[in-house]
């Protein structure tokens, strides 16, 4: 997945996982990003909305597990609060990640190779060790998913039956 230009903001917020709320001035955000926010960020509240569609900036803070909570355009400040992150665990059980479930990784429990990998990530992409761990674990999750899909693709010979036809048998059952 190609990072958006707001990736530095995502990494910054990921590294703030120990906080429940983060208040940032627009200038602080620009320092994190390394470029100026667009005029609409200074003038239009919708730019700060928690809407993913068409808003790469919102994708950055939502993917980091944060959402905007209050905005003061006059003072040029915005606050972010932690958003519960929901997903699906094995067997379809829903799980929720909340602040109280922060994961602590003592460096002494990590292999030297793992620590080196974390520090190399920090050196290459910036941020701190916490944000590097988040990024690396996300990448690992994506890699594991890709490996799982590849395994299933190779585990059976090519189907000679179209799965869509089988699914349509059920979907069209209310037309009979």
């Amino acid at each position: 997945m190609k990072p958006t230009k707001y990736e530095p903001l995502k990494r910054h917020l990921e590294g703030m996982f120990q906080h429940g709320e983060v208040r940032l001035s627009f200038q602080e955000i620009e320092r994190v990003l390394g470029f100026s926010l667009p005029r609409s960020a200074y003038e239009a509240q919708p730019w700060w909305s928690n809407t993913r569609a068409g808003h790469s900036q919102a994708v950055a803070w939502l993917d980091a597990g944060w959402r905007t909570a209050s905005l003061d355009l006059g003072a040029q400040r915005v606050s972010f609060v932690k958003a519960d992150r929901s997903g699906v665990a094995e067997e379809g059980a829903t799980f929720q990640h909340t602040d109280a479930e922060a994961i602590v990784l003592p460096p002494s429990a990590l292999h030297t190779r793992a620590l080196r990998m974390i520090d190399e990530h920090v050196a290459e992409y910036g941020g701190d060790r916490a944000s590097a761990c988040v990024a690396l674990l996300d990448q690992l999750a994506n890699d594991r998913l890709a490996a799982m899909v590849d395994w299933f693709q190779k585990a059976s010979p090519p189907l000679t039956v179209d799965v869509v036809d089988l699914i349509r048998e059920d979907r069209d059952s209310d037309e009979r």
Partner: protein, 143 residues
């Protein structure tokens, strides 16, 4: 990074099981930031898995593993009770099947695109003026 998508059972089945559209589904779906599906997907996927076993297309072990691993493909599950009213209205207005309507209702509710391998669903959605909310995986997309 692409945004969120709604995933249906046909795309999920083509993603996990080797068919002519598998590579195409992978290209459509893998880069998405988040994949959302109504919980109907678990029933439909289990149904297609058991049919494939009964037609000697896949082993019982593979089918069971695929059903068990399906949650890994999905980042958020939308409960059907939150979609039932709008799905019924869609089905009634556009003559969709109720099953199709649940996926489309979720795509409309979230203002997202539904990724499907089901040409009939995509055609019905397009005829119903919902083309913006559906993306059909090409029928033959081997690499």
């Amino acid at each position: 990074m692409n945004g969120e998508i709604v995933l249906d059972a046909s795309a999920a089945a083509d993603w996990l099981l080797p068919g002519p559209r598998s590579a195409g589904v992978d290209a459509f779906v893998r880069p998405s930031a988040r994949r959302i599906a109504p919980d109907l997907i678990f029933a439909e996927f289990a149904s297609v898995a058991i049919k494939l076993v009964r037609r000697n297309q896949i082993s019982r072990t593979i089918a069971h593993d695929a059903v068990r691993r399906l949650p890994r493909l999905i980042d958020e599950v939308a409960p059907l009770d939150t979609l039932a009213g709008s799905a019924y209205a869609l089905a009634e207005r556009h003559a969709f099947s109720a099953y199709d309507a649940f996926y489309l209702a979720l795509a409309l509710k979230r203002d997202l695109a539904l990724v499907t391998a089901d040409a009939k669903l995509a055609r019905s959605a397009t005829e119903g003026g919902l083309a913006r909310h559906v993306r059909l995986v090409p029928p033959e997309s081997r690499p």
